[in-house]
């Protein structure tokens, strides 16, 4: 396990180095002055510019410049947003938790819905229910998310009036910012309307989370179906059947557990896909997350924000990826011995 951990950590460090190198080079590729792209201080006075040039070591070699940039990033200094002139670090701390919350809920929905459906399809392999589930999965995967989001608002918010269409919570509730994860903040607050706020926040998350969950859920259906089919064909299942175990015993004791392990490996990969979908969905549902912020930054040509936003978001996805790897390794001792990584 130790070598496994060390290998993952070194992979993380090197990937981050490449990512910072990329975001560092963006400052040169974006139009405008490099140091202003780094710092975001578009209204800097002459003396401030001198200071900035010194801080980012612009007069030295490119390697030194990269080193200075890295030091700033490691100190949590991402510069300031060109549009709002407030530190990007603060904006990210405010916005990232909302995206995390939304993505995790969506991931949960995708897994809770997708995996059992895939299992059912695999168990009924080549029967009608298998075909129905597979075609639904194909259909769900083909629907573009921006269209689905608008359709969901049209039907469930405007038409039926069941669920709200915008934001994280009704503006009537004042929830103090502690962790940024709305549900935790609500529970921590001492508002007399705590439980109303809680159910209101739940109502707000349902539509965007379901819209995001659709595409990953269809992938989970196919993954779990394939995994289950493979497991059911394995020799230990045949052995179990020969020993006279009932069908239910075989599925619940042996098949599901072994199939799940195969799926967990893909969760990290799917998460990256899910965050991309979440960014578009945040715009549609006015969700105050980092995806919407990043897309707005692109509109506003806020290069500093684009650069840092990309770095933070990719770092976040990478951490989730590594986490799922760890969970997979913890559950499956075979993976730890793998010499070539995964």
């Amino acid at each position: 396990m130790l070598t496994f951990t060390l290998r993952r950590i070194s992979l993380f460090i090197f990937t981050m180095l490449v990512l910072t190198l990329l975001s560092f080079s963006l400052s040169f590729l974006f139009p405008g002055d490099t140091v202003i792209n780094h710092s975001g201080q578009i209204n800097a006075t002459a003396s401030e510019l001198v200071q900035l040039n010194k801080a980012y070591q612009m007069d030295k070699s490119i390697v030194d410049q990269y080193g200075a940039y890295l030091t700033h990033i490691l100190n949590g200094d991402f510069g300031q947003s060109m549009a709002s002139q407030s530190p990007i670090r603060n904006e990210i701390i405010e916005l990232l938790p909302a995206t995390i919350e939304l993505s995790l809920v969506a991931l949960l929905i995708a897994m809770v819905v997708g995996i059992p459906l895939g299992f059912i399809a695999a168990i009924n392999h080549n029967k009608a229910s298998d075909n129905v589930i597979l075609s639904l999965a194909m259909l769900g995967y083909s629907i573009p998310v921006f269209w689905l989001g608008l359709l969901a608002i049209l039907v469930f918010s405007i038409g039926l009036g069941w669920l709200p269409s915008a934001g994280q919570i009704s503006l009537l509730f004042e929830i103090e910012f502690v962790t940024g994860i709305q549900f935790i903040d609500i529970l921590l607050s001492d508002s007399p309307y705590k439980w109303q706020a809680f159910s209101n926040a739940s109502a707000h998350i349902i539509l965007p989370a379901c819209v995001i969950a659709l595409a990953p859920a269809t992938i989970f259906i196919r993954l779990s179906r394939a995994a289950m089919i493979e497991v059911l064909a394995a020799s230990y299942i045949r052995a179990a059947r020969a020993k006279g175990l009932s069908f239910q015993q075989i599925i619940f004791r042996h098949a599901i557990r072994n199939a799940l392990i195969k799926i967990i490996r893909h969760v990290g990969l799917q998460f990256a896909n899910l965050v991309t979908i979440a960014m578009v969905t945040e715009v549609i549902f006015s969700w105050p997350g980092i995806g919407r912020w990043l897309i707005e930054s692109i509109y506003q040509r806020d290069y500093t924000a684009i650069q840092s936003g990309l770095l933070v978001l990719s770092c976040f996805i990478f951490i989730i990826h590594i986490l799922t790897d760890f969970i997979y390794a913890a559950l499956n001792p075979l993976a730890r011995g793998n010499q070539h990584g995964s």
């Binding site: 608002i153 009036g161 709200p164 269409s165 915008a166 004042e174 109303q196 809680f198």
Partner: protein, 561 residues
């Protein structure tokens, strides 16, 4: 990053319980208790400041003026007559140059987490508020830029000689001349009263700019929270000097996008929405109410009376007769405007119903044109403003309709349009022959329509782009300002309107309406014919009760708070 990894595990059980609580369906019934006592208003933009003295923008005035502040006097009742507010009474000397206000003695300023007042409202606050505008050496005059656009436009500093404190609850304004619009100007939203005690506190703390960011006023609501571009949260001012507001919380959901305001309104995420689109869609819903109010404005078709052929009164009359105003109102305003008979809206107290109107009559127009010496017609240019305004939502379409109307009497129209600032600059240089523009009133004082738009002085350095100057007309306006006798003033303005109808320096087209949409559960007046909106009277009924008031209430007669 630490947040993300740590939060993963505790979130899951919470989320599950969230869905459980939803499934058990306990939410809607309880939520009513809070939402019943609150109103969410989808507004079209962020305010620039929290001090109404500093801005004339409609968005800013709507958001702050009537919510946070009071003026000394207000317009009250159906006829928009002046009534008491922070001043319980006032007295004007015979020469009209000394105006004494007797102040209420029971008015409390807001108590918030950034300021706690220790005394009641008194004369010092009035002096502080007006001296800030008038006195260039006042400690607060130059705070936040030193620009007081409304007061500068009416030349307030030339009119007011000084403001005196007689005793703690009596204040006297000494004017340099008699001006009957003075009281009207004091009753606008811009003449709000700030707290002198708060000013002193900020001055000592060396943070004077906060007076315009963290406001303290006497109004029915106080500021709780403001996030730029996102929301403004007001709480009720429980110690308000009148009966307190009916709702406890007022939230402005700042949604600049028209479609997102509509979506939020349809999805019941806001109770009231400003400037809604898709009027038909809103009107067909039984749970929503589209209301409108004829604002004090006018959209008009003006002629450059200094240029050929519009220097001839007969030509102006002929062109005016040829224009089908009703068709313009049906098309450009989608029937949501009142046809203008004169420049003064019919809701104004000074409107005289006997004023003759230039009715649509193309036959007479053609014969007049022949009398004027243009039997074959002529070619003219028409300048259409490039921006949308309440008084003219689409000037280019309007210009095309006018083009079609005038073609019938043999006049060829070339439509000209420039970018807005260029348009206004070239207009002031008098390069145009005719133009489409409009006027929004700041107060119900009729003079606000006449003097800035058509007086001789305005033709030299003002908004009079017709360059029309009529001595008789100007004298009538002067006389009307010098007397306070309402019936006399009304007759002067009636004569002035008769001159406009005869001379036609411009053809008034429409007094447009301002729109607002709300859920049927929101009751009470919000819109007013002039000045900002007010949520003081607004309240909410239970969502569960059937919508009972589907009839459009008559909004044109509004009581200001």
């Amino acid at each position: 990053m630490a947040v993300s990894t740590m939060s993963f595990k505790p979130t899951l059980p919470l989320l599950i319980s969230a869905f459980v609580s939803l499934l058990t369906g306990c939410n809607e019934a309880n939520k009513l208790s809070l939402s019943e006592r609150s109103i969410i208003y989808c507004s079209e933009g962020s305010p620039e400041t929290f001090n109404p003295q500093l801005s004339t923008s409609g968005t800013t005035t709507d958001a702050i003026a009537k919510q946070l502040y009071n003026s000394l006097i207000v317009y009250k009742g159906q006829n928009n007559t002046l009534g008491p507010s922070l001043a319980k009474d006032w007295h004007v000397t015979r020469d009209g140059k000394k105006i004494t206000f007797y102040l209420r003695q029971d008015v409390r300023f807001h108590q918030t987490n950034y300021f706690t007042p220790t005394r009641l409202f008194n004369a010092d606050d009035v002096l502080f508020s007006f001296n800030r505008i008038l006195d260039k050496s006042h400690a607060f005059h130059h705070v936040s830029g030193g620009q007081y656009p409304f007061f500068q436009s009416i030349k307030f500093d030339e009119l007011v000689d000084k403001v005196e404190k007689i005793n703690d609850f009596t204040v006297r304004f000494i004017l340099t001349r008699n001006d009957s619009s003075f009281l009207a100007n004091l009753a606008t939203d811009y003449a709000s009263i700030l707290s002198a005690e708060y000013g002193e506190k900020l001055f000592i703390e060396n943070t004077p700019h906060k007076i315009d960011i963290l406001p303290i006023g006497t109004g029915p609501f106080k500021l709780k929270d403001y996030r730029v571009g996102s929301l403004i949260r007001f709480y009720r001012h429980d110690l308000y000097w009148q009966e307190k507001a009916k709702i406890e919380q007022l939230v402005f959901d700042i949604s600049p996008s028209k479609t997102s305001r509509l979506t939020k309104l349809l999805a019941k995420e806001c109770d009231v929405s400003s400037y809604p689109i898709a009027h038909e869609k809103i009107a067909e819903r039984s749970d929503l109410l589209l209301e409108s109010i004829t604002s004090l404005n006018v959209g008009y078709f003006g002629f450059n009376t200094k240029k050929q052929p519009f220097d001839n009164k007969l030509v102006r009359q002929a062109i005016s007769l040829a224009i089908n105003k009703q068709a313009i109102i049906d098309t450009v305003y989608r029937s949501q405007a009142a046809r203008a008979k004169s420049i003064l809206p019919e809701t104004s107290w000074a409107y005289d119903s006997n004023t003759p109107e230039m009715a649509y009559d193309p036959v007479r127009a053609k014969s007049l044109l022949a009398v004027a010496g243009y039997p074959q017609g002529f070619t003219m240019d028409l300048w259409a403003m490039p921006v949308q305004r309440a008084y003219n939502p689409n000037a280019v379409t309007m210009a095309k309709l006018i083009q079609a109307d005038l073609k019938k009497i043999g006049v060829k129209v070339k439509i000209v349009s420039y970018e807005w600032s260029t348009f206004l600059r070239r207009l002031s240089l008098g390069e145009h022959q005719s133009f489409l523009l409009g006027w929004n009133a700041d107060n119900p004082e009729p003079d606000n329509f006449f003097t800035p738009m058509l007086s001789c002085s305005a033709s030299e350095n003002g908004n009079n782009r017709t360059f029309w100057c009529n001595k008789e007309f100007d004298q009538l306006l002067q006389k009307a300002l010098k007397t306070t006798n309402m019936s006399k003033r009304k007759s002067y303005y009636a004569q002035a309107m008769a001159i406009i109808s005869e001379e036609v320096p411009l053809l008034p087209i429409a007094h447009s309406k301002r729109f607002q949409a709300r859920g049927t559960d929101v009751e009470g007046d919000i819109l007013s014919t002039f000045g900002g909106i007010s949520f003081y009277q607004a309240s909410k009924t239970k969502l569960t009760s059937e919508p009972h008031n589907l009839a459009k209430p008559d909004k044109s007669k509004k009581v200001s708070n």
